[in-house]
Amino acid sequence: MSLKQRADRQGMPCQDPQVRRHNFQEVALGYTKEQAMEEAGRCLQCKKPKCREGCPVEVLIPDFIQAVADGDFAQAAVLLKEKNALPAICGRVCPQESQCEAKCIVGIKSEPVAIGRLERFVADWEMRQGATLPEQAPRKGKKVAVVGAGPAGLTCAADLAKLGYDVTIFEALHTAGGVLMYGIPEFRLPKDIVEQEIDNLRKLGVEMQFNSVVGKATNVHELLANGYEAVFLGTGAGLPNFMGIPGENLCGVFSANEFLTRTNLMKGYCFPEYQTPVKVGRKVAVLGAGNVAMDAARTALRLGAEEVHIIYRRSEKEMPARAEEIEHAHEEGVQFQLLTSPVEIIGDENGWVKAMKCVRFELGEPDASGRRSPVAIPGSEYIMDIDTVIVSIGTGPNPLATKSVPDLELNRKGNIVADEDGRTSIPGVFAGGDIVTGAATVILAMGAGKKSARAIDEYVMAKTAEKAI
């Protein structure tokens, strides 16, 4: 192998931390053409590419990277979009280090090929040229309903549209994108990029009905009775969890969902021109250490908080957030209080948060899963002065759609029971994404949407064949 392949991984140009912590513009700036071609040259073009096994939507990774190395970005885009309807988004928010890049052979002796950054480069390049549409099968004249316009629903809709179905997405909010719009901040995923990718779906003929709460204004059985051959439920994990500690309903305690939705979807950082206010105090504690917690912490800094602390019960190693998000948060000045958990939020006489009582933990013996579980240290309680708490300890399944389908099998937590391909207990009803798995990543939801699209196609085709006999 040539020296070139062992060359260092191309770094990602970023806004300076001291500058970016005061603005909402995108942090990572993207590769230049030269950087992209250089990085693509590091790929070994394995005969049996392991990286593809690590990708939930089976992107043709070596193929598109070869096209980048050849400087044929248009071809790279075609190859990329054959499997992935939302590449500009995935290139930005996928946890590549635990997926495709984790499997990269180059990564054994050196740093893995920056697959995610290349994906982003190609998608952005194509967007600037004006995206071309993937090939579409002839219209079948069959309708499918997709519930929820988040990553799972959008992917399912795109794939069904490509197969020739007439797809309608029913979305409860006033815009498409789900967590891509309300949850992930502008500085990590610019909203005009999400909108452009969603526009591509419209060009494929996907219809979108906003302000449509399935479970209230209509329900799954009504949709099936109204000419939809199948229904895909991608309603997500929309219900924020709270800790269940005293003081959690005080003024100044927000769910990460509320804090981020006010900021991102409702553009609270542009208040009062945009009329939805968002509040952040001087000293902020964010409970949890996932991607959403990092987003909340970094958003709090940008809204003007003086101090932002991530409070997490385990150690740095166990933090569920993407490595890059943790690194960016560190660089921007977010402080990490690890092996620490709150036990009580303390209010002032007006019902506002003024402090939080925490307890310190140490890592105990490994449990059945091999993970060392945190154990509280007796007598280690201490008080932290804070005025805002953002709870980011996960979300549960949104119950609105499922409540209206009493015959749909759910598990104890309220998630829909579905097989690998999204088939639920009701024929014709499919489900995927967080509503099935519990809160996970954008890309896993997209993978589920993709598999369901295939299964829906099989189901509808079989049903049509049966009718013909």
Partner: protein, 284 residues
């Protein structure tokens, strides 16, 4: 787009819209609400469904102009479009034929959401005692409509400018004295009023339902802004409510939580004033 097909001005701050929203009207039930967003930059404003007409495909909303959002809303006219309307949301009122009369109490703009509940209770065959009240005559509305869905209607104003002088709580006490077999009470209005009603009915042991109007954003359980402490549990008004057992609700906390964005609301009002004078918002 959801056009405003009728507008009624009850007072300089209390207004009514009939909004064309056929899908919401088709499924709306007493006790439910909807959320509107007037334009691209607007807040999502939750409003209880005051009435609905399934044939016309309209829903009725009555609102009091308080903050910048509702003030802007009040400036819209018939023919103007509302950008987003989503609903019906929340759990409908549990309507049945109760064993004994029921009392419904509407205070201020709370008269609007109590109307469909009274109507449904009456239709279910209940004897309905209705009490409506406001600070003064100017803020009262729908007296005739309320009379049409109740067996008896008491109207009161705090200042005595119309009907009987005094609070709705006093009127309710009188109703109870004459009808100690009262089975249920529904009370909707400002939080201090709902709290006062629950304090009155607690010793009687009469189940008292209140409709909470906390801060809310998406209305589908996603943001948790609408948390209400009910007994030992935290409930989300948007998906678990908006109606709760009033004797279990922590009104103190609920009122404090209503004030979370008080400072920002003042800023927004000031900006609105400034805009009227031709200035920009200075945000860009």
């Amino acid at each position: 787009m959801y056009p405003i097909v009728r507008k009624e001005i009850f007072s300089p701050t209390v207004k009514l819209f009939d909004i064309k929203a056929p899908l919401v009207a088709a499924k709306a039930q007493a006790g439910q609400f909807f959320i509107l967003r007037a334009d691209e930059k607007g807040e999502r404003i939750p409003l209880t469904i005051a009435d609905f007409d399934r044939e016309e495909g309209t829903i009725t909303a009555i609102f009091q102009e308080m903050g910048a959002g509702t003030k802007r809303l009040g400036q819209l006219e018939v023919g103007d479009n509302i950008l987003d309307v989503v609903g019906p949301l929340g759990v409908p009122s549990e309507i049945e034929r109760f064993d004994g009369p029921v009392a419904i109490v509407g205070g201020g703009v709370g008269i609007a959401p109590i109307y469909p509940i009274a109507k449904a209770l009456k239709a279910a065959g209940n004897e309905v005692f209705a009490i409506i009240g406001a600070r003064n005559k100017e803020l009262l509305f729908w007296e005739e409509k309320m009379a049409s869905v109740s067996s008896k209607l008491i109207v009161c104003t705090d200042d005595g400018s119309y009907g009987r002088k005094g609070f709705v709580t006093d009127a309710l006490k009188d109703v109870y004295e004459a009808n100690s077999n009262l089975n249920h009470v529904w009370a909707i209005g400002p939080m201090p009023m709902m709290r006062a009603i629950t304090n009155v009915t607690r010793p009687w042991g009469v189940k008292t339902i209140v409709s909470m109007n906390p801060l809310m954003m998406d209305g589908t359980g996603m943001c948790g802004a609408c948390r209400v402490q009910v007994g030992n549990e935290t409930k989300f008004a948007c998906v678990d409510g908006p109606e709760f057992d009033g004797h279990m609700v922590d009104f103190d906390l609920a009122m404090k939580r209503l004030s979370i964005y008080k400072d920002e609301e003042k800023r927004a009002l000031a900006a609105l004033e400034h805009q009227h004078q031709g200035g920009g918002c200075g945000c860009h």
